[in-house]
């Protein structure tokens, strides 16, 4: 007999460790780098995540226009979150990459951004104006969060656009948790995915068996085929 007292002990230890790790991490960690973002006013706010929970800190997020032209880049903070003040009303493609070759993408649609942002120059079909026809001043373009000014500071009432933007921002803030939840649910690996995958493997093994059997049968019949004169 071999002396094999160590390996089974080590095996049990490893199993135990694995179980402990499983319990500790609690959720199934998916090895995928994801990205989530929504627009609140003109601010695109979001976070990068390894689906399952962990969030990468200090990674660069590239922000590109709809045609892939790079607009800006931001870094995630300690919580893996980032904020970016959109300067144009266009689709923003956010890309996150880590050095070890993980990559995630997310698109913030132009519809989510306020109407008073100028259209991106390359794709601009209309002149950069308010619906009212007023040219947008540089300072106004920079302003990211549109607040309804209180009555005492202003003589004229808030414009329709401003009200619309304020409402849009408030609604977007309200539904953000819902969208986060939805995104999380979509990224999650479900039991039926796992079972389905194992089922596929069993099926493929079955097909392999069949093909091998057919080949063997053919070989057998050929070698011990009908007696020839």
């Amino acid at each position: 007999m071999h002396r094999v007292s160590t390996p089974p002990a080590a095996f049990c230890l490893t199993l135990l460790t694995a179980v402990c790790l499983l319990m500790q991490t609690n959720t199934a960690y998916a090895h995928k780098l994801g990205l989530f973002a929504t627009a609140e006013g003109a601010n695109i706010r979001g976070y990068a995540y390894f689906s399952g929970g962990a969030r990468p800190r200090n990674v660069t997020i590239e922000i590109c226009g709809p045609a892939g032209q790079k607009l800006a880049q931001v870094k995630t903070n300690e919580k893996g979150e980032f904020v970016f003040a959109a300067k144009h009303k266009c689709d923003h493609v956010l890309i996150v990459r880590t050095a070890d070759g993980h990559q995630g993408r997310f698109i913030v649609k132009a519809d989510e951004l306020p109407d008073n942002l100028p259209v991106l120059p390359d794709t601009a079909e209309a002149p950069m104006t308010y619906p009212g026809g007023r040219q947008i001043a540089g300072a106004e373009r920079k302003r990211t969060i549109i607040e309804l000014p209180s009555g005492t500071d202003r003589h004229e009432p808030a414009t329709a656009t401003e009200i619309r933007n304020a409402v849009a921002e408030a609604v977007s803030k309200q539904i953000r948790p819902l969208r986060e939840q939805l995104d999380k649910a979509q990224a999650q690996v479900r039991l039926h995915d796992i079972l389905g995958g194992i089922g596929y493997i069993v099926g493929i093994a079955g097909i392999a068996f069949y093909l091998l059997a057919v080949r063997k049968l053919r070989k057998d019949t050929r070698s011990s085929g009908p007696p020839t004169p």
Partner: protein, 213 residues
């Protein structure tokens, strides 16, 4: 370790797919009746192992099991890995379809190297402790090799090789040790109970002699 879609350049995708397909073909030719269930079980284990994640620093890692597959399957690890990786890409979104070749290579090359370096040395009369350590070193080395192969593919596509390989390797140091333990224990256990399940030469034939054993 899964390289997703959109990272690798066109030529690298083509080359890795060709090499990966070649590996799968060689593996399929060596697949026989006794290896199919083994390949299926190990493919399932590999498929599920990627779900058990340990967050480490900015990344998160999981067991690879490619060394283990090398010990049990030899070249047949290639088709098993290809099936498992394809299903991971489709069902879990880990890795990608265009980078499937690269990922198959990153897992399959260590498996085959592990088989030739350590698997073929396993003899029927070998002491359990020796078998365990052969498995340990094989499993640990397979993780390092997988890092190197993934690093090379990233480098070929234009990323700094050292930074990429370094980042992956640092994230995998705990895995190197755990993988070694798992592989060593599993190989030693099977070697004791059902030695014929290993991909090494049959128990009846004497183990090959290597000068640097």
């Amino acid at each position: 370790m899964h390289i997703p879609d959109g990272i690798l350049s066109g030529p690298v995708i083509g080359a890795t797919c060709l090499l990966g397909a070649a590996g799968v073909l060689v593996g399929l030719r060596r697949l026989d009746f006794s290896k199919i269930p083994r390949a299926g079980i190990l493919a399932s284990a590999f498929f599920v192992a990627s779900l058990i994640h340990v967050p480490i620093g900015v990344s998160s890692t999981h067991l690879l099991l490619c060394g283990l597959m090398g010990f049990f399957l030899g070249w047949a690890a290639f088709p098993a890995l290809a099936v498992a990786l394809l299903l991971q890409a489709i069902l879990f979104g880990f890795g990608g379809l265009t980078s499937l070749g690269a990922n198959v290579l990153a897992m399959g090359v260590p498996a085959v190297v592990c088989y030739y370096l350590f698997g073929v040395r396993l003899g029927p009369a070998m002491a359990g402790r020796t078998v365990f350590w052969l498995g340990f070193v094989g499993g640990a080395l397979s993780v390092v090799l997988a890092t190197v192969v993934a690093g090379i593919t990233l480098y070929a596509t234009g990323r700094e090789f050292l930074a990429a390989a370094g980042a992956i390797l640092v994230g995998h140091i705990p895995v190197v040790v755990i993988e070694g333990f798992v592989t060593g224990s599993a190989v030693a256990f099977v070697h004791k109970v059902r030695p014929e399940l290993l991909a090494c030469p049959l128990p009846t034939s004497p183990p090959k002699e290597h000068p640097d054993a």
